[in-house]
């Protein structure tokens, strides 16, 4: 076993770690979602790459073919892609709403707005009643 025999796993790991790094290191809410999407996409590779056998065909029983590729990973990842799209859509929708309420999509500014009591809609009880 050498490095190149498993290069697909290295690609997957690199993508997963860069995605995770972006999620942790970036303060911009959209950029965080981009990182999250990269992390999720990297997993598709983990499933799909080993499912392909060189020279393998679709699993259709026929005398001419003897090597088959497993189709199940593709079905699984189709489901995972749907989940990923839904997560991204929901995340972006939340960012739109956050932008409407806070006027910013930078994490540190949102934290500052939340920490400032004068700025809070549900602030001191007297103010609301």
């Amino acid at each position: 076993m050498n490095f190149f025999s498993h290069y697909d796993y290295w690609v997957m790991l690199f993508l997963a770690m860069s995605g995770l790094f972006i999620v942790i290191a970036r303060g911009n809410l959209i950029k965080k979602l981009v990182g999250l999407a990269i992390l999720q996409t990297s997993v598709y590779l983990l499933y799909l790459a080993p499912g392909k056998i060189v020279g393998g065909t679709a699993p259709i029983v026929d005398a001419a073919f003897t090597v088959y590729s497993n189709p199940l990973p593709q079905v699984l990842i189709l489901t995972a892609i749907v989940v990923g799209v839904a997560t991204l859509a929901l995340g972006l929708a939340l960012v739109v709403r956050i932008r409407e309420e806070y006027g910013t999509i930078e994490e540190d500014e949102i934290l500052r707005l939340d920490a400032d009591p004068a700025d809070q809609p549900s602030g001191p009880p007297e103010a609301q009643r």
Binding site: G91, I98, Y102, P125
Partner: protein, 494 residues
Amino acid sequence: MNVAEHLPALQIVLPLASAPLAVLLRDRLAAFVLVLAATWAAFAISILLWLQVGETGPMSYAIGSWPPPWGIEYRVDALSSLLLMLVSGIAAVVLPYSRSSIEREIRPEKHTLFYALFALCLSGLLGITITGDAFNLFVFLEISSLSSYALIALGKDRRSLTASYQYLIMGTIGATFIVIGVGLLYLKTGTLNLADLGVRLQAMTSHRPVLAALAFLTVGISLKLAMFPLHQWLPNAYAYAPSAVSAFLAATATKVSVYALLRFYFSVFGETAIFQRLPMEDLMLVLALAGMFVASTVAIFQDNLKRLFAYSSVAQIGYIVLGISFDSVTGLTATIVHLVNHAVTKGGLFLLLGAVIAGIGGVTLARAHGLARVMPLTSFGIVLCGLSLIGVPGTAGFVSKWYLILAALEKGQWWLVFLIVLSSLLAVAYVWRFVEVAYFRAPRADLAGVREAPLALAIPAWILVGATLWFGVDTSLTVGSASRAAAQLLGVAP
């Protein structure tokens, strides 16, 4: 066709189908009635399944008649039937409450969407519990997670949006880790059926990909169950979500994740692989104790009651994890009993806090001065649930702590008994903060016109408070089912 045969499928299909129908109906009342009917039917089905499993042992249901391990299998055993009953039971109580509660907290045009999301979340949680397929578990996990992100974002306070966003990021990282773990297991064994995985993994539990899968699954599920120190998303999510959502998620979401952890640890990897060859026992013990002490201490210094009890949830999850770390039938019994008891207690507590919000408009401690004068019953209920969190005899919390202490003594770890009692004293401190403010402070002038919570809010809350007291006295249902489930997980009994 015999309906009784298809109960495991109906358990999921009914709430799942009611969600899109509720959106299509577009009428608030019709959507409510439809989702309520589906939820109550799910509760009834879960009771039937529980009775059937008690009589005839674990059941297997092949979706679409594709036999396992080729098709997706639904598997109901002692543990999953108890969890199904818990989740659908809490939903059956919270949903009637939510109708009156969301009138005050959510804009009317979003009500049908609320009911649809609630039904989706319920079917996702039930699905995690009933499925016997690792990838299917991930899909149901995402169904419940995505709907709970949206439910949390419905909160009135704008901080609910950031709380929901934070939960989405953490939850998705957790779910992605779970898929990586499942993928590695699939690469090693070529199967996704949990029972089949359990059999095939036995020969290769020390292979490195399997250990990596274990690590990914542990971190991923721990994020979902808010095990200390991965609990950062939980306090804000519970504090700023609408009251009914806080109550439902606090009572069920983390509990179902604990179920997933138990399932992977004991049914897939097997007890020997995890606890005898790896130092998981010590690891979980340390994390559980850290959660119990740190989260309880943080809870004492909160100014918002919902946040206070959310931190208390993190501490209580510490007790649940502590039970797993003992790796014995008594320890697992304590875990499962506490799962049920804490769900009922926290559910009741958050429902009562919702009634307080309806009465005085908020749950900051500053606003609750003299609350017991204007809302005596609700305050009393909160105190009763608080006593159960502390573990006072006569409440459900006492029973769980009793079994935890028994398990600790069984292992000869008497110092743990001391720590469990000490952490209960921290619970006394945070519950006392509410008692002090509500009972011993003069009510503020603007509370004069406030009256006791309306019946629509009070009755569901008191059902759960009553259950908290009932499970503290009559333990045949909780401890009986839990010890059976624990024995099954450890392979001591069929």
